[in-house]
């Protein structure tokens, strides 16, 4: 069997008495898109925050690319190739779209303790940044301040930032959150093209998107993995239908 790129082993997180992540064991293998679904409040974002290092875990381990990163800070995980997007758009509003992405390129190409020379003129940063913008269809908007982009464009920019990090694994926290139907379709298309290039963990509410994209689905309910498997199995699982999909698939 192939060694998984990411492996969570009995991961826990408590907020006071509330167990938000309850012994979650989950893995992602090379080239796979692993979706995590579940009702609101199931602990999906908490789980992603634990994976990316925004939240410390109370127990369990996170193995990433052969390393134990359970205690590693956020920036170190990112430097090892773990990229994430945020459910609530997290971009640099006064930076242009290009500069948002170029900063991500900068993070993986050479030292940033360079005090002279205009970063905005560096072709070595702008080239890959433009390529990432092209991947999400934002090339024409490259020089617009990110704060002025439309909501769907911001979601796409968020994705471009993650791509520019040339990650070994992409964590996507509801990339379609708040987008209209057309924009969702466009983002699904973008993700379909990216599949295979990067293994991904996708947390998403849009079931159409999830079933169109996922290779494997884990269903999270009250912080526990209720079921995990291929889309068809999960869809047919009576426990999943009863607990969650029953309402969602109407």
């Amino acid at each position: 069997m192939v060694e998984p790129i990411l492996r969570l082993d009995r991961l826990r997180k408590k907020f006071g008495a509330l167990v938000v992540t309850d012994d979650v064991t989950l893995d992602v293998v090379q080239g796979e898109l692993h979706a995590v679904i579940g009702p609101n409040g199931a602990g999906k974002t908490t789980l992603i925050n634990q994976m990316s290092g925004l939240l410390a875990s109370d127990a369990g381990t996170i193995m990433f690319d052969g390393r134990d990163i359970t205690a590693a800070p956020m920036h170190a995980r990112a430097a090892h190739g773990l990229a994430r997007s945020f459910q609530i758009t997290s971009i640099l509003p006064r930076f242009s779209a290009l500069e948002n992405v170029a900063l991500a390129v900068q993070a993986r190409s050479g030292s940033s303790f360079r005090f002279l020379g205009r970063a905005a003129d560096e072709a070595a940063l702008n080239g890959p940044a433009m390529a990432a913008l092209a991947d999400v269809g934002l090339v024409e908007r490259a020089h617009v301040p990110a704060g002025y982009l439309a909501h769907g464009e911001k979601r796409a920019l968020e994705l471009a930032i993650a791509l520019a990090m040339e990650p070994k694994l992409l964590l996507l926290d509801e990339p379609m959150a708040g987008t209209g139907r057309e924009e969702t379709a466009r983002l699904v298309e973008v993700l379909r093209r990216l599949k295979g290039r990067f293994p991904m963990v996708l947390v998403e509410h849009d079931m159409t998107a999830v079933f169109a994209l996922a290779d494997r689905i884990s269903v999270l309910i009250y912080g526990r993995i209720l079921a995990s498997g291929a889309p068809a199995e999960v869809r047919a699982d009576p426990r999943v239908v009863a607990a969650y999909l029953g309402d969602e698939m109407e």
Partner: protein
């Protein structure tokens, strides 16, 4: 929420209006000693030097506040450390700038490094309070330095020599040396904010979680910026001690730190040349109002409130608005 995108993230290169203002400011400073004999004499030259000295510290503070989002309320401490380096060395007979200047820079940079390690663990109001606390620590240390004048301060026998020559003894030569320091500091900071380093610093100000999630250890960048700004304020202190031939704990009082923040705000955050304008406006207004009445602060306070309320972008914002209107008309 409407986004205020009026403040450019980095000075654009080649654009006329972006360079016209700093060049204009430096030209005015450069010709001031030439017209001074007809318009006020030595007083004007020493006032001009004083403005430029504080402008060096204000530019450094703008680097922290305007580009790093780090509101340091202890910036005057570094000016004081730079000044005391000159004073204490001089009291021991070491009067050459070739020793005093590197000492001033090193001492202020070291203090910035050691306090920055602690301060930068905090953010927001806590950062403001802890920088204030470290500033006050330096202040009270200076007041208790009995061998060096304590509360009363310390008179310096003479200006620093440069490699043994009494080069900056002449007011005009000193004035131009100060101008060179200001121009150097300005262009250094301007290069800095547009560099890779500056981009990370600006990114962390915009959204530090995002900047960390793409792989930057934000803390290290902020610490480096804090040390650079501290060293520049130390340079300002070195110049101040030489200008006044006197050092005093008052140089590092918290009121002085507050004044520096006001200077930067008055000029407009995040433009560097705004900090120079703000310093000039602050010190000139102070000078002018003090000529009318002893209670000039009663007038100055409300003026500042009006500026903060109605000219959000500071003087630099007014200038940008003016250029926009001129461009349209």
């Amino acid at each position: 929420m409407a986004l205020d995108l009026a403040i450019a993230p980095a000075p654009a290169r080649g654009r006329w209006s972006a360079n016209a203002l700093p060049i204009g400011i430096f030209l005015i400073f450069a010709v001031l000693p030439l017209v001074a004999p007809v318009a006020g004499g030595g007083y004007l030259v020493s006032l001009g030097a004083r403005i430029m000295i504080f402008a060096v510290a204000a530019v450094a503070l703008d680097l922290l506040i305007g580009y790093g989002g780090l509101i340091s309320f202890g910036h005057a401490a570094f000016i004081g450390l730079g000044a005391y380096s000159v004073g204490i060395l001089s009291a021991h007979g070491i009067t050459d700038a070739l020793i005093a200047l590197p000492t001033a820079l090193a001492v202020s940079a070291l203090y910035a490094f050691l306090t920055g390690i602690v301060c930068l663990r905090t953010t927001g109001v806590y950062f403001i309070m802890i920088t204030l606390a470290f500033g006050q620590m330096a202040f009270f240390t200076a007041t208790s330095l009995a061998p060096y004048g304590g509360d009363d301060g310390l008179t310096i026998a003479a200006r620093n020599t440069v490699a043994g020559f009494a080069l900056i003894k002449d007011e005009r030569v000193f004035y131009y040396a100060v101008l060179a320091c200001l121009v150097g500091s300005y262009f250094f900071c301007r290069a800095l904010v547009a560099s890779r380093f500056g981009r990370v610093l600006r990114g962390a100000k915009e959204n530090s979680v995002r900047t960390a999630t793409i792989g930057f250890n934000v803390y290290r960048f902020q610490l480096a910026a804090y040390v650079i700004a501290g060293a520049l304020a130390g340079l300002s202190g070195f110049l101040l001690a030489n200008a006044t031939e006197f050092v005093s704990p008052a140089y590092m009082s918290w009121q002085r730190s507050g004044e520096l923040i006001v200077m930067v705000l008055l000029g407009g955050l995040g433009s560097l040349n705004g900090a120079i304008l703000g310093t000039a406006a602050y010190l000139l207004t102070e000078e002018w109002l003090a000529g009318f009445t002893e209670n000039w602060k009663v007038i100055f306070g409300p003026v500042l409130v009006v500026v903060v309320l109605f000219a959000r972008g500071g003087l630099i914002g007014l200038w940008a608005e003016l250029m926009r209107r001129l461009g349209r008309g």
